[in-house]
Homo-oligomer: 200 residues x 2
């Protein structure tokens, strides 16, 4: 029996989106489950003092170029969203609310939300748009909108983000395998090697 | 006839050190020369507002772990230096001063300086230690020490750093192939693919 892999990501993180398209398949190849854990980089950056990627001089424009080029290489549908970055509260709360009932379905929603934002340029920071994406998968729209405003659901997300920071998570994607942390979509080969060999 | 590749790096950048161990061989495989261009991330960070990696909460401690793990994977001799980061003026000035006479020899010096810092924990920010490393390769120690304090050599480095920033260089390593920029040692596979295919 092997431990599941933790996959931390922010819904506004394009590199998180890239990894989301590969992590489950990669883990399954080595008999591992993946626990998806949306976080809020905004809360993390208050601790680390970092700025959102697009706002950093020089690095921001490089990043936009790198994202488009990397997406083309990976064959992942992608365009730089009109609003970027965005606040991830609505999609993250939707995820955890569903996750408590049905983790497999919650993951399906996460994929749909990521696709809506990074492939269709829909602003999922809006509860209405997050609810539209969820409704298309069969979720009760009114029930979800109520959940997004529910203090218990808000608190649930806050607890997850605090726990992630406590664990040292400072970016997206951030993957933990048996306590071993890997940050960045460009660590996917090292992740595979770690899964295959148990470390080096 | 193909254009040379530009390889920008900071002598205090461990990821630059990792790339320095592979970039020449990789380029040669595709019939390319590499122009080595030391820069000063301190000057770059004044523009971008970034902080040195080891000083960033959470990310700094991850980086130290990632560096040791990556070095082990790549088979590159490495230990986190006692002083990290350091100012790169002395080794960078030594490089450009020699480079104007003999680029091949200057590159040999760059490798020796990187090794001194990241494998032997010698503080190459000291002109004396940079001179010791160079002297071991046959450079006249007194002449080099004089060059390190020469206003023309100082200006030479400043001009190189300004030109790099003008070109958008914001990190180390930063490689430019026919105008196409690649940041980070983890872009080495994309660099190889770009060299092999001319882009995608």
């Amino acid at each position: 029996m092997t431990n599941p892999i933790d996959f931390y990501f922010d819904f506004s993180s394009p590199y998180g989106y890239f990894s989301s398209s590969r992590i489950d398949e990669l883990a399954a190849k080595y008999g591992r489950e993946v626990v998806w854990r949306p976080i809020l980089l905004g809360a993390v950056f208050k601790i680390t003092g970092q700025q959102p990627l697009p706002t950093i001089p020089l690095k921001g424009s490089y990043a936009k170029h790198d994202l488009v080029r990397s997406a083309r290489l990976f064959g992942v549908p992608f365009k730089v969203p009109s609003r970027f970055p965005i606040a991830g509260q609505a999609p993250s709360r939707a995820f955890y609310w569903l996750n408590d009932k049905d983790p497999v379905f919650a993951r399906k929603l996460a994929r749909a939300l990521y696709h809506a934002y990074f492939a269709e340029d829909r602003d999922i920071s809006s509860p209405e748009i997050t609810a539209n994406v969820a409704a298309k998968l069969g979720v009760d729209r009114a029930e979800l909108l109520a959940a997004l405003a529910d203090p218990a659901v808000k608190e649930r997300l806050k607890t997850e983000v605090d726990a992630a920071i406590e664990r040292g998570v400072f970016g997206s994607p951030y993957v933990v395998i048996d306590g071993e942390p890997f940050w960045g979509s460009d660590r996917i080969e090292q992740i595979e090697k770690w899964l295959a060999t148990g470390g080096w």
